[in-house]
Amino acid sequence: MSAISPTLDTTIEVPGRRTPLVIGNNDYNSVTETVAGVHERKTPLGWYIGFGIAVTWLAILGACIGYLITTGVGVWGNMNPVFWGWPIVNFVFWVGIGHAGTLISAILFLFRQNWRTSINRFAEAMTIFAVVCAGMFPGIHIGRIWVSYWLAPYPNQMAMWPQFRSPLMWDVFAVSTYATVSILFWYMGMIPDLATFRDRAKNKIAQGLYGFFSLGWTGSSRNWHVYEKAYGLLAALAAPLVLSVHTVVSFDFATSQLPGWHTTIFPPYFVAGAIFSGFGMVLTLIIPARAWFGLQDLVTLRHLENMCKVIIATGSMVGYAYGMEFFIAWYSGAIYEGFAFQNRAFGPYAWAYWIMISCNVICPQLFWIPWFRKTPWAMWVVSIFVNIGMWFERFVITVTSLSRDFLPSSWGYFTPTWIDILMLLGSFGLFFTLFLLFCKFLPIVAMSEVKNVLPHDHGDGEDGETAPAEYRA
């Protein structure tokens, strides 16, 4: 493995010269060694400790779900009129997190943003695990989990079909399609890398398993041709799909007549928020991961800086939507709408609202200052705030709006139970369990794609130079 070059500052922009995406004099073999090394080297103690903690929380989640099933949804704080409590908040939160992966893989691919190659695998895996966490919540929210298959278009024992005019039904289709396509995309991207693992595997079991899942990949150029075509097509399909998923989630709210939910800007606003939170989570994960797994040459500061910029952009879009909602609430002259927004900012849940505003709108603006975009720990702190803010956004939308019904007689104040809290934490246990397993056993960086953007000897002229003098700090 090549040494990390501490003097190289990739965040310096030299117009007309493309900053190398991989630094440190890496060649094809050293990229393979770096990525495969994460899997092949002796597992560090930290991994076991992290895994132990994650599995503990996963077990707590399992216990909570068992308790929920045997006792009923009354174990949550959901009440009248807040029928949608934390489970839906958590669902929307996790689905949002899941958006960055496909966005990085698909949309940045379509826009030829080659810097995606170092982080896309990581983000895609995050997407899938986030969608697993997300899918769990509506699943257990239906109360009678053992008949959840009634959601499928299958004539059940009452000869009834699902109600396709319901946005909740659309959600089932959107989230399951998203999960399926994300897995296909992720898996397809991994086939060549799994073949690399297969060819490096030392023991029979690993060889067999990686061999099986790499489907006999040889790296044939005729295969690569079809593969690239399929990858491009999947990207083109995944891009509108990403938009559609959070759009449909927003329809769950916005098709209703509830003030604070029924706003036409919800679809693009939810999508922007989802990308925002997703990038927040990618930063939260990748900053420690690149340090622990020695990936600084592949995931350079430039990559992190770019993600920070995406966060400013999407954070500002979210801010724009908050502003538009407020403006139109007043402009419309609709008294209920006006009240709903006044209540958000100054009502009993004002604390949640201001947490949301400060974390989502104000905090990311720190990234205008270059220092924040170039200092990993500072970014990490901001990214944590982004995650918190986006959870509170969903809390504000769901709980605050519901708690103030049209009839003041039915107003209420939602308080979570300890099961609510444990389940939220438990879902992080599930997420990190899956994630740590992924880090241990699968290629966490798309090796074949990174090799493709390595400075080639004959190369794409512009990518040709490694570490020109201008980048020396």
């Binding site: 000869a159 079909w161 396709f164 289709f173 990949w217």
Partner: protein, 467 residues
Amino acid sequence: MATVVEPDREKAAGEPESKRLVGVVAEFETQDALLSASEKVRDRGYSRWDTYAPFPVHGIDEAMGIQQSKLPWLVLGGGITGCTIAIAMQSYLNGVELGDLPFTILSGYAYPTSGKPLFSLPANIPIAFELTILLSAFAAFFGMLVLNQLGRLYNPLFKLEKFARSTNDRFFLGIDSADGKFDKDSAASMLSDLGASSVETVYDDESPAIPPMFRTIGVIVVVLALIPPVCVAWTRATTWTTPRIHPVQDMDFQPSYKPQQRNIFFADNRAMRPQVDGTVARGEFESPEDEELLEGTLPPSAVEVREQLIQFASLLQDSSGGNAAAAPGEPQGNWTDSIPVQVDQKLMARGRDRFDVFCAPCHGLAGDGNGLVNQRALDLKQTTWLPVPSLHTKTTRNRPNGYIYHAIAKGVRKMPGYGTQISVKDRWAVVLYVRALQLSQNAPEDAVPADELTKLQSDNATDDASN
């Protein structure tokens, strides 16, 4: 300088004849070397050959002369299929109901919701979109697998130790022995001339065996996969004597009190509560007058009670020996024939008012059974509609007042009860008005006041004249 090396293993076996010749594989250090070699091989007219690289090499498609893939068409097909299925499924399952099909499973379920049309295209678009994407993605992924013949885990190339670097940092070019121009030695020398760092010949066993591990895993997977369906089939085919499993105890066994149980919530520790002072249980009356007023019936006399008991006993002995006199749906009772409220002009006016509101829509303002609802139903030729009977038939005229009161309150045959809408006193008022109506159509001539009679007669005369 390139060298031609025969695989060691094959040399050791010393029997190349028993193995099938697969082809010749050359290794290149850089992608540029591979590209230029590819162009040469292409120009020499080889058709069955391929190159291998750890990533898609830029320009290799052109260098090898690879044709554009057909995959986009597959994907378009998948998308159109998905969209069509989604729209058809939604419009059929929610938009139509085909009545009594032999298979209920095949009939849709048309139920309106929130004022939306049964087939609401805007509401169907999200799912149509999702299924379009889903099937397109399947077409892209599985199409890629099929076109690339992936899933064929065994490849003779894997026997070459050096070939492992094709997924890491080396580039290979292989010419298949099935190529028409293939000649082992000339191909090998050509490749080494093209700058290959090494050239090897690949042989294959005639019938590559599946590794035993895969067979074991396969068997285990199949067996495990069979367990759930077998369990389901077994449970469905078995009759159980034990109660079913109750996953949610709270729902199935609710904490309610049963008679004679103890409940410490109350001072007397009884779960059953005594009647609250000043309340009357339904169906129990303080006095016969109350019963007459509220139900329109009179309490049975002692003789009648005895007769009823005998009848009841005989019913118990012989279920067929019931009282068959009453028509089905006809209420029975010991009807009163009086009107147990004060009858005056005011009551009559009230009765007319209520009758016009509640009864006239069906029975008509004159009680002749030809109200607007009836006319409309006959217009529509509704097969389920039972024509409204006239109130002036002999049967109805002979009904006791209590019967009519009861019909108003509880309904009779297809007529619903109006007890919830018409109060007790008003019901009697309606009874009174019905009686008046009946009288108006069936009064004997001497009961009509003299001046009215002459007026009627003159009216009849003009009617006849005009006819």
